[in-house]
Each structure stands twice: as C-alpha cells, then as structure tokens.
Amino acid sequence: MAERCAVIGIGQTHHTARRDDVSIAGLVREAAERALADAGLDWPEIEAVVVGKAPDMFEGVMMPELYLADALGAVGKPLLRVHTAGSVGGSTAIVAASLVQAGIHERVLAVSFEKQSESNAMWALTIKTPLQSAIVAGAGGYFAPLIRAYIQRSGAPEDTGIRVAVKDRANALKNPYAHVRDPSLDFDAIASSPMLWDPIRFHETCPSSDGACALVLASERSIPKGAYPPAWVWSTAMRSEPTQFAGQEKVNPLAGRECAKAVYEKAGIRDPRKEIDCAEIYVPFSWFEPMWMENLGFAPEGSGWKMTYEGVTALDGELPVNMSGGVLSSNPIGASGMLRFAEAAMQVRGQAGEHQVDGARTALGHAYGGGSQFFSMWIVRSERP
C-alpha cells in the first residue's frame, strides 16, 4: 500500500518575458525558496530533488540540472531530471510524489522552469533534420490545423476562442504572478489582434515567459506541526501515444481520454463534472479549452464549446477552468505543467487569493505536450485520502 502524499509547499516566480536580473540558477532558486518558506522547511530537510524542463535547446544548456545541483540544494542528495515535452511540469510533480508514495523519501522538492529569453523556442522547435517531419513555425503552426478540424466537426461559433481568451486574461488580472496582466484586453482587443496561425489570433496564444515553479511534497508523518493545511494527492496518471500514424485521432486524443479515466478512477470520481470543483488545464491556444473539456470528459464530444459559451468555465461558473489565467497568461514552458498542478493544489488549500474558487475541495491539474500525445494529470483534495 502506497504512503499518503501531500503538497505542503508551493512557490513560483513572477512570470515575465525576460528575467535579466537573475541567472537560470537564480530563477529556480527563487521558486524553490518560496516553496520551502510556504512549507516552513529549510534546505537540509529536503531529501531529494526532481527537476523538470522542456527541451534543453530552449536555453542552450545540455542537462542543466547538473549545473543547478548547487542552487537546488541537491549536493549529496538524489537528483532526477524529467523531460516529457510540454507535460513535463506535471510529470515532474508526479515523479516527486511517487518518491513519497513509494516510501523512499519523506520530503521531496520538485522544481520546473523555463528561461525562454536565454534562447529562442521558435528556433529550437523548427530545426529540420533529414527524414523527419519538422514542427514548422513553432507550436502554433502545428496545432492550428487540429483546431480547424475541431471547429469543422463541432460547429463551434467562431468567437469561442476569443471568449476563452477574454476569460483567461481577466483571471490573470487577479493573479499577481501572471505574465500577461493587461486590463485593455477585452473582446474587441482580442478579436482585432493579428491572425498568427488561422484561426489563432495573437491574443489567443500564450506568451514566451521566463519563470519557475516549485512544490514540496511530503509524507503524512513528516508534515510539520501547525503547518498550513496541505493538498492531498489522491491520484496521478500519465499516458503517451506516438506522434503520428494513419487514422490517428489528433483532435480528441485517446491518450488524454485514457489518462483522465485513470486519474478519476483512482480518485474514486465517477462524474467529473459534478465531483470536481475546479480544473486548471494546459491551454496554450484558446481553442484548447473546449477541446480539452471534451477530452477530459467534462462535456460530450462536440459540445465542449458550450461550456465556454455559457460561462460554465468562468471563475464564478459551475466548473471554473484556469483560475490563474492559465498558460494563455504565463508560459515558462517547462514549468507550465507544474503551475497547473500547483494552482489545483492552491485552490484546495484555499491559498489562491483573488482567484480562489469558494469552497474548492477537489481540483484537477492537467498538462499535455508533444503533438497532443503526452498527458499528465493529478487530482488533489483538501480531504485526506
């Protein structure tokens, strides 16, 4: 039987386009120190460190965890480096949780980051090697056709994506850590922003951010006395499928559906729409909100857009989605998945400040990556398993 595991510390940086004032080490250290302070712990009390980030070419440093060992207090300790594409922030939290659940460690620090200003993600994603398909024009160029297929199939109104962006930009105004916090971004401003990859407009896409996120995960017996209430990890799941093959369902991928099914089952959730109070999911382009609503089983296929349209996913809706402002408002890629997991935990801890969902007790954290092929998810609750 696995040990119970709880999130007892959460930290993140103020996400922004360029953090020229800190090195990569300084950036991760900032998030880690905030997580330790939140947990009421000091560095020696951490037994192991798990680092996650997206492709190393995003900074141009090979296996940067080697260089970060000192900054993350990992010297003399086990240090693992996870990389599962865009889902990596979530996967990193899951690997850290499994070290506690397995009974191997009592307190584990999970850290994820991206310092996009050090290199150029668009370049790193577009390298063409012989005999392999290149991801042309960055991630937007890859995902736009999937969105068009979704619109065609579902008959969703054209302004659904704009409505998602309006909501997420408004939520970001309540999150002091968000990168894009611009009160002028209303419906008209987003609708009239330049079309980047049809149908994705400039303000329907995520920014390039420098940022980091950190979590302290602990076994039940090692939670400090008098600590702030933890978020209990009820279930975790990861699923992967190949990048492409003939007949593959790319709009509503099977790996995502099966990952959701697994994470709900392990948490004893039968009706996710009813039993989950809020969801923080990986939406780098606005249209992915309705697409993931269907993939995650919150809406029947073809009708996810109605949840956005009817305000179900608004902060005061029946199922608030991306309370923090989401990836659309902050995107330090390697940390983006962990920020979703962290927001879910903050919600059930009642720690989310102005973007707190009243009475949130059960929350979903979700991340995806690659060509909609890598998924990681967790369910956290205020109640102990």
Binding site: M1, S23, M57, M62, R81, V82, S240, L254, A255
Partner: protein, 349 residues
C-alpha cells in the same frame, strides 16, 4: 520495499558509426528485451533515457516511442539522463504499487557530432560553458589530481585499458576490443596530459533495454530473476573547484545507501569512461582485488551515451543470470568528472 528483478536485457552492437537512425538502432533492441522477458505488452510502466544534444534537435525521445510501441497509449515517462536513472524511476513506480512490470530503454548516437565538445554544453552556461572546455580535458585535470594524490603512474592507467579491451574480446557488442601492449600504448602522444587515446572511452552509437518485474511476477516469467537488492544515486557540486576530484563521495554515499558492503561482491560493472575513473570508483565502493571489474570491457570498450550506464546494470545482471556471479554491483555516471553517480546491488535467488 517490494522485490524487483531484472528479467531480461538486450543491447545493440555499439558501432563507432552506425548508419541507422536512433529509432532503427533502438527498435530491435526493445523487441529482443521484450521477447526474452516472457511478458506480454503492454507493460505497466515504460521509462527511457536520452538527450536532445546528441541528436541536435528537441524532443529526441519522442520519436523513440515509435520503437518502444505506444499504441494503444501507455503509461510512460522519460529522463534527460542516462537510462540507468530511467531504471531508477521505473523501480520507484513499482515500489508505489502502481506497476508490476516495466520496460526501460536508453539510446544515444554520438558519431554525428564532436562528443567531447558537445559535453562541454553541460557546463555552467555563464562561467565555464563559454570557455568550451571539452570533456577529455576536464577528465585530464581529474586524472592529474588523482595521479599526484595517489603516487600512481600512467602505467597503472594503461593497465586498466589493456585489461578492459582484452576482456571485451568476449563481448560481441563492444566498439573496441583486442590485445594491446602497454609499452606501445605508453609511447603514444598525449590527447590531454596525462591522458592518451587508450585512456578514453571510444565513441559509440547504441542502445540498451531492460525489463523489470516485481516479486512473483518475475518468478513466473523468469527462471533466474536477478533481484535489485539496493539502488541509490547522489550528485556532487557542479563547479570542479568545489570538488575533491581524486575521490567520489557521491559514489561512496550511493554505495552505502544501496548496501554494497552488506555482502561479498563477485563482479562490478563500473561506468568509467576514463581509465583513472575506474580506480576512483573502486576505492569509493570499497572493491578489493578479489572483485572482477568490468568483465564486459566496460565503457572503455563501448560507451553508447545515455545507455552505457544501463548497459552496466544489464551486464552485471547477465553474469548473475548465467550463474557466473552471486552478487554484483553496477554503477552509472553522468556529468563532468563523475559529478553524478548511481549504484545498484544485484543478487540471484
């Protein structure tokens, strides 16, 4: 802790320059390991190790999924580390009780680039990296410190190379094997003093895969499961000036945690890409002259990056499965001058 065993191991022939791409190298290796395991797909968990910087493009591991087989979707993870750490993650997953079986693999193709220069990209990007110190030069600094500390000679280093490549004659997967004369080797010019070409691992392209199974499941499918009795890994500071390069405290600590000293060791497979590092590792793990070191030839005979550590575990397990050893130690390393180390203790029934 749950009992976890290695039930099968496979590796490629580690060529100096393999014309196939990574997926083509990996696929037959995975198929062989899976077939030998006697376990039907899907595995409860899959984990791999690789690095983008060898392939020169992001998401090197993504296409490898085509070799591993991920349809229908699988529970899967990846470390940007040697696949020995992927084995560790899989072992952890089995410990949580969420998995009983796991497929682990790693691959690396070093031949397209200049490996010692590529590895310089692992260094602190602000202070050390811009100087482009290559991996052989850094290892040479370590070798110099070790020679001066111990009073040993370059002949002691050459002996490691001669023994490794002699033993590798029995290893059909080795990149470099044969009988070499010490005096001739010592007459060679330095690559980076005090290291000569023979002191360095060859450049190898290759892959390896291991299948793990828990307790009864392992006994069901495998006549001679090789049990992982202890596994641990530790890291040291990054700055070379902050470390005592003549010793390996992270290996010593990982060895203690893994329980190396709890019984006699018959065989040790040590991941030492440079001759002097074998000496340092033997001392850190307390391995005496009675222990057979690197009967496969070790990394000095074949060094497929991101798989060479996993190969050490596989080679050590193979000796036990074949009845040639009862208790073995396997070691993997990562980072400049043995910065990060993993130690695994293996036993038969």
């Amino acid at each position: 802790m749950r009992e976890v065993a290695i039930v099968s191991f496979a590796q490629s022939v580690h060529a100096r320059r393999d014309p196939r791409n990574e997926v083509e190298i990996l696929m037959p290796v995975v198929h062989e390991a899976v077939a030998r395991s006697g376990i039907e797909r899907p595995f409860d968990f899959t984990c791999s190790g690789s690095t983008d910087f060898l392939q020169g493009q992001p998401f090197a591991f993504v296409l490898a999924l085509d070799a591993a087989g991920a349809w229908p979707p699988i529970a899967e993870s990846h470390v940007e580390m040697d696949a020995a750490w992927a084995l560790y993650e899989a072992w952890v997953k089995i410990q949580t009780g969420e998995a009983d079986t796991a497929l682990v693999y790693g691959f690396g193709k070093s031949s397209p680039g200049d490996l010692p220069e590529v590895l310089s990209r692992q260094l602190d990007p602000y202070v050390l990296g811009p100087l482009w110190p290559d991996a052989v030069s850094l290892a040479a600094l370590q070798a110099r410190v070790w020679l001066e500390r111990t009073g040993r000679s370059e002949r002691d280093l050459a002996e490691v190379a001669v023994r490794s490549r002699r033993d590798a004659r029995d290893n059909p997967c080795a990149t470099l094997a044969g009988e070499f004369e010490i005096d001739k080797l010592l007459a060679d010019p330095y690559l980076a003093s005090p290291l000569r070409r023979h002191d360095c691992a060859p450049i190898s392209d290759g892959a390896a895969a291991i299948v793990l199974a828990a307790g009864e499941r392992a006994r069901q499918v495998c006549e001679r499961p090789v049990w992982i009795r202890g596994i641990d890994h530790r890291i040291e500071p990054h700055a070379l000036g902050a470390r005592d390069l003549a010793s390996s405290p992270s290996t010593r600590l990982a060895g203690e945690k893994a329980g190396v000293g709890r019984g006699p060791v018959d065989v040790a497979e040590l991941h030492a890409p440079f001759t002097h590092q074998e000496w340092i590792l033997r001392e850190a793990l307390g391995l005496g002259d009675e222990v057979v070191i690197n009967p496969s030839g070790g990394a000095l005979a074949a060094n497929p990056m991101m798989a060479a550590g996993l190969v050490r575990i596989g080679e050590a397990a193979r000796r036990i499965a074949e009845g040639k050893a009862r208790r073995a130690v396997a070691h993997a390393t990562s980072g400049p001058c043995l910065q990060q180390n993993l130690v695994c203790v293996l036993e038969g029934e």
